[in-house]
């Protein structure tokens, strides 16, 4: 079931909400169990076969969590360590089998010319998310940070449907206290108003903006994959469209998850905070998929030594963390290279900051307006380049796209422009302008460029959902000091705006369109 489907909006969500608050009048445990069951139903709607796998994973990790905690109470450090190692290994084997086994064998086959095979392995939805969530739980139990072991709450923490499939990656210390709090189980109109507004803003982003621009991105990447030599303009158009599609898709999903959760009175952590406004790559990763960045930092980068073992080791740790972060997104070399590219960007960024500090400058100082704009643009271009590798089906497609973007196929304009530009087109031709003899793979009616322009304006200039909702604590870890011009409050104008956006977005749900992050 998708958040952007009629079944979810008109049936599943109202029933689950109603059941939750009615049962909560009788018992909080019943209400939590209802929500966990509904989440399992939500998960099983795709493929019921994997509900068993999810439940086994929950039972296994909960049991190991308890044993590790008990060993901790009895001060049996070695036993605790063995249990943690065993549990982590089991989790990684599960993830490795479902997500990486075929990738590993394909890589071996292509290098050694062998034909090894595991057969077809269908990736269970959300396996990366629920595995990482539980690894964090086990590690924190080992470190004595976990305080609550209520099984229903734990099951709900893992399966909670707003986050189960595509994040945010939850941390038990944020969620368990909320599940235990009595106020969560009381219907609250403010939570409902805030939740509905955020949910429909997210739906609008997904259905209107992300799906709207997606139709311009796919033909370009598909053409590159089929060997078509793209022009500079086509390649950049495709890359920009995908960059914006991914932005609105993930931003929309994150808003919808936060909004849905808020309807149940539970506040999720902030996961997406206008990443394309970042002035450098370090900041980009503090704004994009924030909960994954936090997980990678806390459970990979810092255990590897972080920045505590010298500059060289710090850069190595960065690269390793980002390579694994890339691999987390998918079992393919394009993801690994994408991760490596971002690792390289981070190294350069940290190196630049170190150099500035040596020169007596403070890298954290705010920039002048032109320098700020230039930094945002430079960061954005670096991110776009990396997204090309991320989106491409294989390395050949990525190379073909990047070559075209670098102008290595020549700077040729679509031949439709020659006609539509009239005398200016003729003038350009006389003065060396090249127009393709063939039809462009994109419909160059101007629609594509209107989409790109509007989307970029939204991305760079508009306040984000959390900023608009800032008076109502829309997400955990969100702090906004500035007083922005656009502030949501329950008023007639906002009601009208929300109604128009929500009805327009809901009516525009015409086909099943999965969120890009579902595949990770």
């Amino acid at each position: 079931m998708l958040f952007n489907s009629y079944g979810f909006i008109f049936l599943y969500l109202p029933i689950v909400l109603l059941g939750f608050f009615l049962l909560a009048r009788t018992s909080h445990a019943f209400a939590a169990a209802w929500l966990a069951s509904a989440s399992l139903f939500f998960y099983g709607y795709w493929n019921p076969a994997y509900v068993g796998l999810l439940l086994c994973s929950i039972a296994f990790n909960y049991a190991f969590g308890l044993w590790i905690a008990k060993a901790g109470i009895k001060k049996l450090k070695l036993r605790q360590k063995k249990l943690l190692t065993l549990a982590l290994t089991a989790n990684l084997i599960l993830l490795g089998y479902y997500k990486y086994a075929n990738f590993f064998l394909d890589s071996v086959n292509s290098m050694a010319g062998t034909h090894l095979s595991w057969g077809e392995v269908i990736l269970p939805l959300g396996i990366s998310f629920f595995t990482f969530t539980q690894i964090a739980f086990l590690v924190d139990t080992y470190q004595g940070k976990v305080k609550e072991y209520n099984f229903i709450h734990y099951t709900l923490f893992v399966t909670y449907f707003p986050h189960l499939i595509a994040g945010p990656v939850l941390h038990h210390k944020e969620m368990m206290p909320q599940f235990a709090h009595a106020s969560t189980y009381r219907f609250n109109y403010e939570n409902m108003a805030v939740g509905l507004t955020i949910f429909f803003i997210g739906l609008f982003k997904k259905v209107i903006l992300a799906d709207g621009i997606a139709k311009f991105a796919s033909p370009v990447f598909d053409s590159a994959a089929s060997g078509v030599e793209l022009t500079l303009i086509e390649a950049w158009t495709g890359a920009l469209c995908y960059t914006l599609q991914l932005y609105f898709d993930f931003s929309g999903y994150s808003d919808m998850a936060i909004g849905l959760s808020r309807m149940f009175g539970i506040i999720l952590p902030l996961n997406f905070h206008s990443p394309y406004k970042a002035v450098n790559i370090i900041e980009f990763w503090r704004r994009w998929h924030m909960t994954l960045s936090r997980f990678l930092r806390d459970y990979l980068y810092i255990p590897l030594g972080g920045n505590r073992k010298g500059e060289a080791r710090r850069y190595l740790n960065l690269i390793l963390t980002m390579l694994l972060g890339g691999l987390w997104h998918g079992a393919g070399w394009t993801y690994v290279i994408w991760g490596g590219l971002h690792g390289f960007y981070l190294m350069v960024n940290h190196g630049w900051h170190a150099a500035r500090r040596k020169l007596g400058q403070d890298p954290s100082q705010s920039l002048s307006r032109p320098a700020h704009a230039l930094s945002v643009l430079l960061t954005f271009l670096a991110v776009v380049t990396a997204w090309v590798v991320f989106r491409a089906n294989n390395l050949d497609t990525a190379t073909a796209m990047l070559k075209a973007m670098a102008g290595m196929n020549g700077i040729i304009m679509p031949h439709e422009w020659l006609a539509s530009w009239g005398n200016f087109g003729q003038w350009l031709t006389r003065h060396g302008g090249n127009f393709s003899a063939n039809d462009s793979i994109l419909s160059v009616t101007g629609t594509t460029y209107i989409w790109i322009t509007i989307s970029l304006l939204v991305v760079w200039l508009a306040p984000n959902t959390q900023q608009i909702m800032r008076s109502y604590k829309p997400a955990l870890n969100f702090q906004e000091e500035r007083n922005l011009w656009l502030q949501w409050r329950p008023s007639r104008i906002w009601l009208a705006a929300c109604l128009i956006c929500s009805v327009y977005a809901t009516l525009s749900i015409t086909k099943l369109s999965e969120f890009i992050y579902f595949q990770f």
Binding site: Y189, L196, P490, S491, L499, S508
Partner: protein, 377 residues
């Protein structure tokens, strides 16, 4: 406003607006599916039906249960009126034009399969092009046939958009389809130009693989066999016909040197149908030189839209030939002839026509000066 007011008003407003969109789409009915509210000047003309016909026609077939069907591509959709009295046995059978624009043979075969399994049809008139008529994988190729989603028709932004366009285009649009599914096409819009393009296109494909000598011996007719078997199994009176062409297109076949092979292909198909059905399934063609097939090309024509699309007035004559004259001992068909007709007879007819109608050649030269034709010596 309190959050409570916001939530309650939002909920009421959301469902109200949603319901209003549905009611509006239901009344305007741009897909012409519900057909219960017809208001002249508001929704009587359905200019957007073409966008829906692939989904709506199969649903109408299931709902209306027609007994006499016309199947094929746009030639059949434009050319045959399913209410024709000869086709419907003077109205005793309910007729429907179940043909679709750009439907290749495989789709037509799947449409036929769908029709015999979803409607109690008694008669089916099916058009084809002389050539391969292979078996379609209907489960794969046409799995979505008949899928009609009420949500899609009522509660989507595209439906709302189509409804608004339907209302706005009432004054400027003519009726495009009849309720029984026949398509009117762009009647009267410069057919000479379409002829010019049609002849050019035919000239460009002279001697292509489709018309290769020896084709007749290697035809794949597995799909046709399946259709005949389905018709027999469901007790459907199947009548087949090769799509007619304007005589200028026949001349292009002749100029290209493809005519004889095409004729052999047609004869091969005719023999196949006879052997598969023990002579019980009639198959017709309308190739010939007469006042209808050789209508002079002008900027406004009565019988033809272009060199292949004929108007329903022509279709009416063909239907009379097929379902009345060919079955009456006193009459002979005027235009229709068996697929097995001799090629020599056809050539003699052509020569005679050209000899007595010199304006035919003059007119063709006017259409396109490149193509000069002469009768055989």
């Amino acid at each position: 406003m309190t959050p409570k007011h916001f939530v309650t008003r939002f909920a009421y407003g959301f469902f109200l607006l949603f319901a209003l969109a549905g009611i509006f789409n239901r009344i305007v009915d741009p897909a012409w599916y519900y057909r219960d509210t017809v208001i002249k000047g508001f929704n009587a003309v359905k200019p957007e039906f073409l966008s829906f016909e692939q989904r709506v026609k199969p649903a109408l077939l299931v709902r209306d249960q027609p007994e006499a069907l016309i199947l094929g591509s746009s030639y059949a959709e434009i050319g045959f009126d399913p209410t024709n009295p000869f086709f419907t046995d003077r109205g005793r059978m309910k007729g429907m034009n179940f043909a679709f624009a750009r439907a290749p043979w495989e789709k037509v075969q799947c449409h036929f399969e769908y029709a015999v399994t979803h409607s109690k049809i008694k008669r089916a008139l099916v058009g084809f092009h002389p050539g391969d008529l292979p078996m379609a994988d209907c489960e794969k190729d046409s799995e979505s046939i008949g899928d009609i989603d009420t949500i899609d028709l009522l509660f989507t932004y595209s439906a709302l958009d189509f409804s608004i366009k339907t209302i706005l285009k009432q004054k400027e649009s003519d009726i495009t389809h009849t309720p029984e599914g026949m398509y009117f096409y762009y009647r009267g819009v410069n057919p000479a130009n379409y002829f010019r393009q049609g002849l050019e296109a035919r000239s460009a494909s002279c001697g292509n693989s489709k018309n290769n000598p020896g084709k007749a011996q290697n035809l794949n007719l597995s799909g046709l066999r399946r259709m005949i078997q389905s018709a027999q199994a469901h007790n459907v009176e199947l009548v087949l016909f090769a799509y007619p062409e304007h005589a200028y297109l026949l001349e292009m076949d002749y100029l290209c040197g493809d005519m004889e092979e095409k004729w052999k292909v047609m004869q091969q198909i005719g023999s196949f149908i006879d052997s598969e059905s023990a002579g019980k399934i009639p198959a017709w063609q309308f190739y010939g030189y007469n006042a209808v097939t050789a209508e002079p090309v002008r900027n406004s024509m009565w019988y033809w839209q272009d060199s292949r699309h004929f108007n329903y007035e022509v279709g009416n004559m063909f239907l009379e030939d097929i379902f009345a004259k060919s079955r009456s001992p006193e009459n002979n068909p005027v235009f229709a002839r068996s697929l097995n007709t001799s090629y020599a007879d056809f050539l003699n007819e052509r020569d005679e026509y050209l000899r007595f109608h010199p304006q035919f050649t003059t007119n063709m030269r006017w259409v396109n000066p490149k193509f000069s034709i002469l009768p055989r010596n």
